[in-house]
Symmetry: C2
Subunit: 440 residues, 2 copies
């Protein structure tokens, strides 16, 4: 028997050595971030209290390619290139003529795509003489990734973790401890923001907005401490483009070009990293569809407005032009914690406004039903976030079946679900709510 592998492995020598910066190639340039007081465009100095200059430069760079530092490539090589896997068993179960490939980022130490930017951000901060990074985390995907990044470059790491997650989902917190980070339930008594909230409500369970305020305050008020954000900003999407570049090379190895690329969208970095390297092909006329999938419970792209809004909930950050449900919107407690963000990366928002990205929304039960089918055929248990892309890939594969089309579908499987099994339990118990967005 001639064994065939469904996995397309990219040789390490072929791993991309530059990030792709989409800014010079966007059909419509981004509107600039504004100072919330003056509503004038902000300059780099406005961000220098909490970010190193190298990242601020990447945020606004017009260079198409930005070389990945050798130190970052070295850490990437711990788990990259990641596999692109043909889902032959799932295709068979769906009886679809479509070819479904999934790019699996769950092989990273933290189990998701997040380390791609965490490692880069830790590196640039270390190089700038920073001693410690502060950040927020909800369920802990980003916090664990940054803990890993800081561990690799000898930086201390402080994570403000939303208190209810800190208590109810302890295992990603444990992973942060393994990599040496300090993790505090937020609101904490370590910051003015946290103390003020605790004074009003000692039992406050916290929110991502509060945790951001604490982390930003920590960075802004302490010497040698910077803040780190895991999505939304241009430089974060930039770092994730290694994912899409690898997909491009891997598909080429298979002699294929994609017809559809599907990714889940929280802040937009997973989806951006996946699709941006294919944008030039699309603009040159290749018929590639980019499907961005968000939860019906937090549908910034499909139900939000394209306008200037704060990046955080409290209203401390510069104003960003993006699809948003309003910075005061608190998304319901769906299990895809990484998709609970009121806004969307300005780059992705622009591409939605320009009709290049097709946004769509799914509800939880459909997502988990598709994820279970995926796990039973392909073996891998998807993270709830990634399950959104799995669900839409399934719909497209079934459309291909009806239309008898052998399209090539690429799914971003951004992480595994081993830290989210409680969500699967809730699904099997019939306890998952399908929540529709209610404008306030």
């Amino acid at each position: 028997m001639a064994l065939k592998s469904d996995t397309i492995l990219l040789p390490i020598q072929e791993m991309p050595t530059s990030w792709y910066n989409v800014l010079p190639d966007l059909p419509t340039p981004l509107d600039p971030p504004l100072n919330p007081g003056t509503r004038q465009p902000i300059g780099p100095e406005a961000l220098s209290a909490i970010f190193p200059m190298a990242l601020i430069e990447q945020e606004v760079s017009t260079e198409r390619w930005i070389a990945i530092p050798p130190e970052v490539l070295e850490v990437y090589s711990t788990w990259r290139p990641t596999p692109l896997i043909r889902a032959t068993r799932w295709e068979k179960a769906l009886e679809t003529p479509a070819r479904i490939f999934y790019k699996y980022e769950g092989t990273s130490p933290a189990g998701s795509h997040k380390p791609n930017t965490a490692v880069a951000q830790a590196y640039y901060n270390k190089k700038a003489g920073i001693k410690r990074l502060a950040t927020e985390t909800g369920a802990g995907q980003w916090g664990s990734a940054l803990s890993f990044g800081c561990c690799k470059f000898g930086l201390a790491c402080t994570v403000y973790m939303v208190k209810i997650s800190y208590e109810q989902k302890p295992y990603r917190r444990s992973l942060m401890h393994v990599w040496g980070a300090e993790v505090y339930p937020s609101p904490s008594d370590r910051t003015n923001a946290g103390r003020a909230i605790l004074a009003k409500d000692p039992e406050c369970l916290g929110s991502l907005g509060i945790a951001i305020s604490e982390a930003v305050e920590d960075a802004a008020t302490n010497d040698g401490v910077n803040y780190s954000l895991g999505s939304v900003l241009n430089h974060v999407l930039l770092h994730q483009t290694i994912v899409g570049q690898e997909v491009e090379k891997q598909l080429k190895m298979a002699g294929l070009e994609p017809n559809i690329i599907i990714g889940c969208c929280g802040g937009g970095s997973n989806f951006g990293g996946l699709i941006l390297p294919f944008l030039a092909d699309r603009l040159e006329g290749k018929p590639i569809r980019f499907l961005g999938v968000e939860p019906t419970a937090c549908p910034s792209m499909t139900r939000g407005k394209f306008e200037y809004d704060f990046g955080d909930t409290i209203g401390m950050t510069p104003l960003l032009k993006m699809y948003t449900l309003g910075h005061a919107f608190v998304p319901p407690g769906i299990h895809a914690g990484g998709l609970r963000y009121h806004g969307m990366a300005p780059i992705i928002s622009r591409l939605v406004a320009d009709k290049i990205v097709e946004p769509m929304a799914c509800c939880q039960n459909d997502v988990f039903a598709a994820s279970v089918e995926f796990a039973r055929t392909e073996g891998i248990t998807p993270a709830p976030e990634s399950g959104h892309a799995v669900k839409v890939a399934r719909d497209e594969a079934l459309r291909c079946k009806r239309e008898k089309k052998a399209e090539t579908i690429v799914v971003g499987l951004s992480g595994h679900g081993f830290f989210d099994m409680g969500a699967y339990d809730a699904f099997f118990a019939g306890k998952l709510e399908d929540i529709e967005y209610q404008p306030s």
Copy 2:
């Protein structure tokens, strides 16, 4: 910069297509299993009530190579060959001249080496017309692996899970549900064994021994139902030899031969799968050391007796000649649940008695300290079981440093620790007990 990968990937075409059966090559033949009543060797028919004939034949086969069925190879190819990774970052941290390689089985769908035999057992049972498999599980590694295997071949799967683990460690149970298994807390009211125990003690928290009794009863008393065991028996070790065979090929790709091979030992299948393919080299005079690592809390090889004993706690199985702490010994609740077994595979026991395997024992805190160091350098968070091998590899690497020897050390990293983060929490909190064995 020329990027170099530390990962040795075996091409799928090089994946072993036979299992290696060590029985004809053992320097001392195994003593036969005995009927506990007559103390006479048992024949195959004694096992046919609960195992399919193909597995019973493998249990006693004298063929050196047993072809892996194409259907099993096809499922293996979902995740195999697994990577052999050079631990360059850890070597650097240890300042050792040794070359440390780890064979990582955590990339399987269930996150450990267990699917190697689960898939094979499910296949042979399906082929024999069996409709459902019953098994026991403690923390859930084996139960989740068998659930996956059954899912692949359309068999139903019933898992009796030790009640305290069912309640306290729900996430591997969730994984079993993802793959469609039924999971019952044991003691359950589904069997006479379970009902009898519940009648005496309705609050009984269960034990592996009780769960085995329930699973065996379920198989023995229901048509179309067989029992499946995840370690100890010859055919289970046989299926795991794909691991060591891959290591052999991967080291050859690197132009190396092993000086030391280290694996953790619970029932012995992980360790056996790793070392048995190298036994012939050792017997031909190559200086390969085989280090089998068990917990000080359950030290069958280092403190037990080499004698006939029951494989289960209740005393239902045939008698096996093995190192044992006595079938009534209930191991303390250490976090390496997979190493809590009173006995040891007859094959491994024989090699210990013949001074071919060097047994050694570690305590929990040393294991977790080494595992955290490993996670901080290599990125991967080891399962508590695998951490035992990591700890001994560290000791050997430091010995190589003292002795200025560039030995090649292979560590079996049998699984990841993502379902065991509570154990890491206990370690960081200083709550892990180092338990010494107390003979009863």
